[in-house]
Symmetry: D2
Subunit: 298 residues, 4 copies
């Protein structure tokens, strides 16, 4: 049954390649293109010599995350060759489902021209939550590397209580760290209390800052400005997990000599196999949902 | 400052009374009415001989949860006397804020007539999450009482992964129970994985049922029908935490001799002081939000 | 193979009976006597009409815990009949191994006369540690029952960091309780720190006492004298898990109106099936060790 | 009071230096020698230009861990100079207490000649347990670095359930790892069960080996021979925490291409500040015990 469904994976990093192998091992027919620089095993996935070969028979076409870095070419860090977005979309037919990460108006316009169906895995809640696991663990790993003390029995602050904040707090608590969480919503404080952490309102955050050995920021807004940075201990480690523009006044941090690590895209860097398995799981779910939808229309 | 704000608490159970004492201890001027049956201490709250006295000077009037059991009278389990809803609303003036639980169209109509502002604490997310703590712990207490084995090292199933399910899973895991969670959404399974529990889809739930020493249902829909009940071990304990109509086919359970405990309103019964403190905290937040709103309009 | 080994279980409570059933289910031939008051199922264990029948063919004879309450009769709470210790020892032959709990000089003298081998399961470290699990959970259950607040988010003190103290601390921490442990040895404080609890020296214990919602004593020496009891909050719950003479000045506690619960023999009372399974596991290990020893001598 | 006690710290690595600073900050008068290569701050500790100056006034003399690497010279990795053991012992007077790590017969003989009192901090149970915290966390850090998957949700095996094994299991469980512990004693299995891990007997270990993403060995005996190494997955990481000779057949592991990391002396390398604070704490306790002993003799 499974090998009736054909998947083409074009471009991306180790994550896409691991996902291709995972899906191939489960019995799907998986063709890949754009990984020439990779010298390891391709498992049961079939390497193609051209993008056409990888795409031609596919029911689902898997594109990178992000699908493009420059809105012109496909994102292919493991290949020397280049593919124009227009060229790849030209190859795709209407019967094929295109799955990729962080599609924007460029991709949408290209798809609209050909009435193609785009599915973005990046925005899915399940994908994001699962990726918060390697992100949180990667952040703890950085803290372990940077701190001259153990994370165990140290005092840590997490700014923000979204997906990453929640999982990070959970794991730090499991390591017997004293966990403080800065948040704003009353609802968040209720959860913080339920899990046994210590909540700190943003309005009183400054009074607490000198306590901490390590501060994790997860909020993509200026959370640690000069005034707050000054309150931190000089030997504290600051790990910024917030996507662009980050949450720290980097200039002030530099002037003050604060140790700031801006840690982006941790899942792929820190635990590529886990990240690839998460992607495989998400593609599997997308395929299932799509097939169910199609079945419903029959 | 605080004793500029006056609070009147009318009716309700131990929770409302504990909340009144908590707030009185913090410096608010709190008048209470409707607790004549209570023989313990009233702390710094002032007992009034009439409902008029309790209400007259109040800025905030706190009503029970639920505010009424019969849509006619105020809910006053700790009093022999009766107050008609119409009578109490007649006493309230427009400058006063009415805070209560589970207001319905009856209350809304009464309030609308006099242009009163009603605030329902029951529906607030922070209140509900905080109450899920005593609910979850109360459910564990029941399991401990009923099981002839320890909850530690036993196998438990939680049906549903909402607020109660999440906190219950967290605490059972903390007791070294093997925790399975039945859920439907992919997003929920991502969280279940992140916290280290075992997820079970509803479609395959039946295959797992004979494993469990205890099953906690949190979903207010028929989750354990006759077919599923039959799959459970005869000595398993089933604790239903879902509000009316519950999640279990009680008739089938009885015929099959299954041990079902329907545990409703646990916070007030199981940990009344905690429940009262949660109510006090919520009223405090409501007062703060209200005052901020008023201040903004100046 | 297993049913070559025959076991006779004489006297005791539900624990011995559950152990008999467990062992019978595994394939051992198990004969029991002394449970006439028990109206439930005996599973695959064979009920005997006389103590002689239960013992005659047995390779291992399992006696109660404690084997006797009065140094004259066998401990048989589930039977109306009485057996003199002398009578039962008269029935036992030298080829049979006698396994029982809390043997004393009376038992040892009786055994010595006939050159019988006695093995005491009560003193075994593995048995004691396993029983500390239901003891700790039973103590938490009592705290849940008695406290008008949740154990979660409350503050608890454990006096002593032996087996029960260690497991109790672990489970309370897992419930998000703030756990303090009073101990004396530097080594204990090292472990207390390693697990994330808060250590308190006995010399400064008094300063801390007013913090706690619940105090668990595990030390069989006067740990809470009048002076210390006075420092506790009047609404605190004191659970004494220490065997005779306990660790609390009960007279002073009564005078002061402190709520003290002396909770002894929790495993059998609180989780009889778990306690029986622990006994079965221990008997199995004793049989294995004995057979290995015999084999070594061949 | 504290600055009546004088401490001389001679030789050692960052740990001894951090301990010196910690003790100096608490009010002790601390003189140090042998850290010329260290370019950071010495805090309130006084640097001496000769070993005589560091020792002369000291009540307690703190030596390195190990006190010597070659039984001839003092262990001084942060100094270019050399001190013969005989020379330093020649300087010490009978009124002074010598505290150091891993004293052997060489040290004992030198001390005996002058009737000096040696106290070895290395062998102390509290010191060893506290150091097991950075060892366990350092091992987790290595696993995080080496594994291409997250430690969370992976399967790990710990061989041995001593101090390091216990703390490692605790922290891995806190990260939601599936934790297996290989042990031998029934007592250990009781504790393993109490904490919710999975116990594996050495006799059946082989059947389990292919499960694991990471194996931590803590037993200083050949635990992973060729036969067992072959059963491990090729991509599994093996972290050996056992002191010389380690627990792995390194030759076989190399031939088989297994990824083995031999991680010794983690506290000082992985978390030097924590290790230094642990040393300071231990010295403090040794001083207190010594002073108490002296006081008792008055």
């Amino acid at each position: 049954m499974k090998n009736d469904i054909k998947i083409g994976v074009v471009g991306g990093d180790l994550r896409q390649l691991v996902a291709a192998q995972e899906l191939a091992e489960e019995g799907y027919e998986v063709a890949v293109y754009g990984f020439e620089e990779y010298t390891g095993s391709f498992g049961m996935a079939t390497r193609c010599v051209s993008v056409e070969d990888a795409i031609r028979k596919a029911d689902f076409i898997v594109l990178p995350l992000p699908y493009s870095n420059d809105k012109i070419h496909l994102n292919m860090p493991l290949s020397q060759s280049e593919i124009h977005l227009e060229d790849i979309f030209a190859l795709i037919e209407q019967r094929q489902i295109v799955v990729g990460g962080r599609f924007d108006s460029v991709a949408e316009n290209l798809a609209a021209e050909k009435k193609l169906k785009l599915i973005d895995y990046y925005g899915r809640e399940d994908f994001t939550v699962l990726n918060a696991i390697p992100t949180a663990e990667g952040a703890i790993n950085i803290a372990m590397q940077e701190l001259p003390v153990t994370v165990s029995n140290s005092k840590s602050l997490i700014i923000g209580f979204g997906r990453i904040g929640k999982i990070l707090a959970h794991k730090l608590y499991g390591l017997n760290t004293e966990v403080y969480v800065a948040a704003r919503r009353y609802e968040d404080f209720a959860w913080i209390e339920a899990f046994g952490y210590k909540g700190v309102g943003y309005d009183v955050l400054e009074e607490y800052l000198e306590k901490f050995d390590v501060v994790f920021n997860t909020v993509p807004a200026l959370m640690l400005d000069e005034k707050r940075l000054k309150k931190l201990r000089p030997d504290a480690i600051i790990i910024d997990l917030a996507s662009n523009p980050g949450g720290i006044d980097f200039t002030a941090a530099k002037t003050l000599g604060r140790n700031v690590i801006w840690a982006l895209s941790l899942p792929g860097k820190y635990a590529p196999i886990t990240a690839g398995k998460i992607l495989a799981k998400t593609i599997r779910i997308i395929m299932r949902e799509t097939m169910l939808n199609i079945a419903m229309q029959i």
